[in-house]
């Protein structure tokens, strides 16, 4: 086993060998295998945003098998999706790529300022589908946060006992926060900390802006002169906020945008010590050839093969 992989596993001393093996599987698969860096393909947008918004730009993506194949061909570390999408390809691609079963999901047919995803899968589903990890979304800032925190408490305990890893999507959102505050540096760092305290092995957050949302936090950032001017600095602060870098923190790609802008973002994540990216729409909404080329370049940046 690679020294870096072994070092990272060493951070999870409370976990059983089954969970460690699944963490190792996630770290050892794909083009970034053994580097301790991650590029994960997540496809839950069909549920979260609706099928046309997700797949009409690149219609082969309507087919659930497309994403297994894309993640595999691109050399991603893992493929993450809700129950139905995994059920529709897990047998055909059995053992080919580590899977993460998303256990809760939101749709946009019901609004409200305080979102709370629905439970849509279980730990036993993850076992029968051969997944290496469960995925779960929390919305710190939502008035419904207690329900989400209690659910992940129970699901994480069960997953760990059964030898699975736990990936938490931590997306600040809700009546407690301004729109700008959802990606504010203090809030994103806080969201990373909360996910770690809830027992996540891997945390996914959004790239933070330099905005500071909370007054009580601003005083400290200013007094202690926490460096947050560049994205790399902010990533570094988020990683520090995740148990001083002793939990794996990866960053979402967010909305589809200019390719050059994404590469800049990836460079900043890499330079700030982030562990990688989880890139959905920017991957599967491009034509397959473009997507493979794009993901290869992202991986090259993480691997240090490209600037």
């Amino acid at each position: 086993m690679n020294d870096r992989v072994r070092e990272i596993l060493g951070w999870y001393g409370s976990d059983n060998p089954g969970t460690l093996a699944n963490l190792a599987r996630l770290m050892n698969h794909g083009r970034l295998g053994g580097t301790g860096r991650f590029v994960i393909l997540p496809v839950d947008q069909g549920f979260e945003h609706g099928p046309a918004r997700s797949f009409a730009p690149n219609p082969p993506g309507y087919d659930p098998r497309y994403h297994f194949e894309l993640a595999l061909a691109a050399g991603c570390n893992a493929y993450a999706a809700p129950l139905g999408f995994l059920e529709a390809g897990a047998a055909e691609f059995a053992g080919e790529i580590p899977l993460i079963l998303k256990l809760n999901n939101s749709d946009v047919l019901t609004g409200g300022k305080d979102p709370c995803p629905a439970l849509t899968g279980s730990v036993d589903d993850a076992l029968r589908l051969g997944a290496s990890a469960i995925g779960f979304t929390i919305y710190p800032g939502s008035a419904a946060r207690n329900e989400m925190y209690r659910e992940i408490r129970d699901l994480a305990r069960e997953a760990k006992a059964k030898g699975l890893a736990v990936v938490v999507w931590s997306y600040p959102r809700g009546s407690g926060l301004s729109k700008e505050g959802e990606t504010a540096i203090d809030v994103v760092a806080y969201a990373a900390q909360i996910a770690c305290q809830l027992g996540a092995h891997i945390v996914k957050v959004k790239p933070p802006t330099a905005h500071i949302e909370l007054d009580a936090a601003r005083k400290v950032y200013e007094k202690e002169r926490v460096p947050i001017a560049t994205l790399a600095e902010r990533v570094r602060h988020v990683v520090q906020s995740a148990f001083d870098g002793r939990r794996i923190v990866i960053f979402s790609g967010g909305e589809a945008k200019d390719t050059a802008a994404i590469f800049d973002e990836v460079r900043a994540i890499r330079d700030g010590g982030g562990f990688g990216s989880i890139i959905g729409r920017n991957s599967f909404q491009r034509p397959r050839g473009e997507a493979l080329d794009f993901l290869r370049q992202v991986m090259d940046i993480y691997a240090g093969k490209a600037k």
Copy 2:
């Protein structure tokens, strides 16, 4: 086994042979057996709308045995009903026609803009009654959707472990949607996607209109020029939204209406690649002879024997 049936079963690679066998039973029974097309008789209106509204137009329908016999005589693929109706005829018609036990139901004695059906049956009831599948209604758009999604998560997992198929009625409705939005093309396609992501083998939706409900969706439909002008095109889009046609999608007949209009609708479903119809009131509220004739014509359209 018919090639088309075999092809369809091939889409369900995560399921055990018991579930596959029940799916095959649904596909092989009746006048459309082996075609991969479906006409199902559902009779839950006694619960959902009350007895007189349901059965007074054709009083023999008060007798639960009437519907078993009607579905059988008409050559439907299956008969779907709540617990009580199945209990009242399952022994007498044992083995004669595949049954679908509806596990939740609403009544109209209590209103509210955010509907949530009550659990009225269990997976074990389905087994003891010899049903091939469970049926379950979700209302995407209702503020109570999380409760329904969590329920079908648990029921579907249990049903699949016990070798049953899962049929989801996905009817957008609730405070998140306008009345027109309940059948909007973007919403119906989304509802089909959600049901598939929740693990449904068979999804039932309403025939969609050309209306688009959600602004974020409209931009995509326009930009990507998704064809939705005709009902056949819209059906095709809904089927595509159900895992690129790799899940069975059938369409409800909706309110009783003009026979010619129904046949037009059925032709559009057929031409758009829909898998069939689930026709309740338009069947059992007609006199038996008329109903048989009507259903025969619907089946002929699906079978390609009629235009």
Copy 3:
């Protein structure tokens, strides 16, 4: 066993030997071992206030292992933290210092006048991590108090059956109280009583002010001339309110403040018969050397080695 420890254990006659052993462990560990006095290091501020506000003043504190080591080096009786922080060091520090797993936590990303922490850990987590006690926060005065009281009812019963001790943070707060009332002597004494009535073995409250919040209480304090002029008198009254001193009551340090002021507070707690302090930010936000020196002096005051 020390006589004082034995005397204190004698107050808990309804508890099984497992719980008594864990209470004894808490009392026998560290520099105050055997005195019946406590200095506990709690670090839940990462969750409760956010990482930068908690750890930027002394950045080594971002690393979860820092706090285990600090509590151990300082000779604290125990270290208390949420799930994630304990998971990140419990194996490395196995058996070195008694642990208290905090089972609920709040964050400040969602406001509201009536706080209710989320459940973030379980009694079984406490067992697998080797903790001696569970910790739980209640907010008397919150409209959500019944939910918290019911939760601790269930968790305490389970913890006691499994041989663990129960530590309750009792912090009056919510729409029922004025800001000043949160630390009013009548309210703090009441909060201590409620925690004891809920079955706590150890109660943590804030040092009370001389303010009286409730009119009905004020009449009695005046009529019965309850002495509450000095902090030592108020501590004595709080301890009396905790079953006449037959439950362990410790006091929080509150916000970081002037060192001399803290020592004065500690002297008053000692002189009033308080059992000790639980000091978070005033410990881990100082540089390690200063923190060790500071904690040593606090312990010396409790041990009677310093004035």
Copy 4:
């Protein structure tokens, strides 16, 4: 995925994707990865024969970590051992090599003509240790066979539901058989059939001799002129008896013996269509360098790189 691996997975259509993924893991790991051939290192002799008989010939083998490392360095497909041996290395070697947890074991301290191994591990142990499969020994021919068959019935059902593969050691033995009969061709073929009928994914038997034990069987072998003169022919017959080659059948190496004889045996297994070898004592009782060289040659024979 390799075509051969996909072909083999196609034989297990009743299994869920979790089990298929674990079967794929076993087939894709090591020097024979992707060939559909297997060389597995089993080390249960410490339990089955005692430590000195097992490890004194090569004392580093007393250390449980030795065998993980040996299996890994040699490029075996998997390492199989009882609970204690896996517990002693599963964290250190997490994710490095597929593991098979043997769930029952015999010792030689109690005799009797009708052996029945003790249950020594559980399916949940396999999950927490990160194993890909359970292993289980049956002794067809023992008067206690019903107990073993019932145990594997329950354990296999649980393992399959939880996404694990099932490996059955099928060793005819007991009062129903002569000593020579234990490896008779009719009995070994029968033992393979029984293991398959009990639901094994992978069956391990001993290389059969040309002896025929049962009179009723002899008549058929003679009448139908089943070719059993050479070991390759007998292997072919055993593989045929395992569902016409649609179950994986591997062969044990048996007692330590002459290296050239083993290579001859391996060639015969290969030529007869056997899927591979499970080689314990002949591997770990040699000095490490010799063992690696030996295993490399065995794998070369299976891979067709050596004659």
Copy 5:
């Protein structure tokens, strides 16, 4: 934490922090705390041999509190006893000394050549009594061994999940062995191996003689020239047989005998790398003063303070 203690904990990588903490407690308590050596007081003879045979020689031993106090005063690492004896003192001595609850026991009122102890306590009893470990006796060589092995499989799994350590008394006995064979070097080494394979953290065996019981083993001992002439050599071989010294092996004192002989035995255990002694009758059947003196000398030998 002492380096030696940390090293030993490092052998148990599959265990959770709760179990590691309890192992650490056993290693850190008493006069041998931190040395990695053990002297444990076991008192199950009241159940196993009857009260008069056990306690008449030193009548204060009829009182269950006597043994807690003796173990504590002598500085033993732990005190081990059946349910009743622990219930009778666990509250009074709460937290003073690590406890081991024996979960099965035999009496001598029913004979038979194939002993099988009765279950007399549970893991939950261990938790409520504050024990650090469960104790369990197996009799390899008994025809009833399968029942014992299956019981410890289930109890050990439960104990480990709940953060307790597992101590196995492995005493070869039964129709499979001669009387002399019960302490034969090959049999004792085998018994140690079996206990480790069953998942024991700590194994207790009897000091082995130079007799070899099993013919198949004798050949290996002779061929490999395993040194077994002296007790120290035999202890070394037993420790090696316990996963190459990576499991804790302690030795029973056996029947009451000459003090000098015991000291010689202890020296041999120490010199052979044994981890310590578990001494019952030789301790509690002596007058208290003598017993303390005796145990002090035993500990001095282990600590290297005496020859």
